[in-house]
Amino acid sequence: MTDFQDIWTYLSSEPLLWLTATLAAYIIGDALFQASGKRAYVNPVLIAVILLAVALTVSGTTYETYFDGAKFVHFMLGPATVCLAVPLYLNLRQVGKSIIPMLVALIVGPITAIGTALGIAYAFGIRGEVLLSLAPKSVTAPVAMGISESIGGSPTLTAVMVILTGITGAIVCTPLLNALKITDYRARGFAVGITSHGIGTARAFQVNETAGTFAGVGMGANALATAILVPLLLTLF
């Protein structure tokens, strides 16, 4: 028994265990996603998150200890965002001739996202910090947290809402857009990118490269659009 204690003491003090666990949980999530025939509701991120949350609870591990290992994965988000330039470059002509449809979507999409979220929450009696934190939820997390702080919201609450929005978009987009019979993958990708940032973009790349490219452009452009639109729309509430 002391042997196990010694091993656990080592494992819980080193980043190796939770880094490995993060990869393993994702591999399980991705395997289930592939086995389902790539169904949107079998979301690999959601499955991995649930498995890890259970593992942390059962082993009594804090998020700080977990993140000490998982931060290596988390760190790669920055370089991966930079790499979105490659599919963008490879599809540059197609993106170039879509500038005007993208600009139109970039104005009405974020206004809808911010307006409906605030409207619904307000109608159900949500006020103050929680309401303000909800406004930038469709934007990539670092920008959303910055906007939240500047308007008097809670960056932590916003981060939670951003991730929930991303997972929601990644799960609903394919069935929703199929039901609407939208076959233009530029439009599909762009709509998901401006609504559900990076998690939506990751989902779009699972569908095809055109959708992923336009989602990446939408995510980047919406960081700017929402930063401008949120303060304007808040004057209405």
């Binding site: 993060t22 994702y26 920055g78 370089p79 490659v86 939820k137 932590t156 790349f205």
Partner: protein
């Protein structure tokens, strides 16, 4: 591979420094992406060389959101009794925004006489 990673990290670093120095409402990596795009346009041969590294990183973009997602589980109770309403607002507004954005795009493209290729 290492050279490519060094280029990618340098562009991110440049993006982080400039967004902070100028106080831009953009994440550093997004500006880094813009710089990378400019670099690829100026040096098309570089695109062929770096393509596999970049696409390798992007192939499992979903994985990179897992640590942040696990963080959300711990914070979900900070939403307290509002959690149901917040979830409802998030789900409905996400659906509404996807529908509005996709039609804004396709109708504009149609008015411009573009086909969906």
């Amino acid at each position: 591979m290492i050279n490519h990673l060094a280029v990618i990290l340098s562009l991110q670093l440049l993006g982080e420094v400039i967004t902070r120095a100028l106080g831009l409402p953009l994440p550093g990596p997004v500006l880094g992406m813009v710089f990378f795009l400019v670099l690829l346009i100026l040096r098309p041969a570089f695109a062929d060389a770096i393509k596999s590294t970049a696409q390798g990183l992007l192939a499992h973009l979903s994985l990179l959101f897992v640590p942040a997602g696990v963080g959300v589980v711990g914070h979900i109770k900070t939403l307290g009794s509002d959690v149901g309403v917040i979830l409802l607002a998030i789900i409905l507004s996400t659906i509404a925004a996807i529908v509005v954005s996709v039609y804004a795009f396709t109708l504009t493209a149609k008015l411009m006489g573009q086909s969906n290729d």
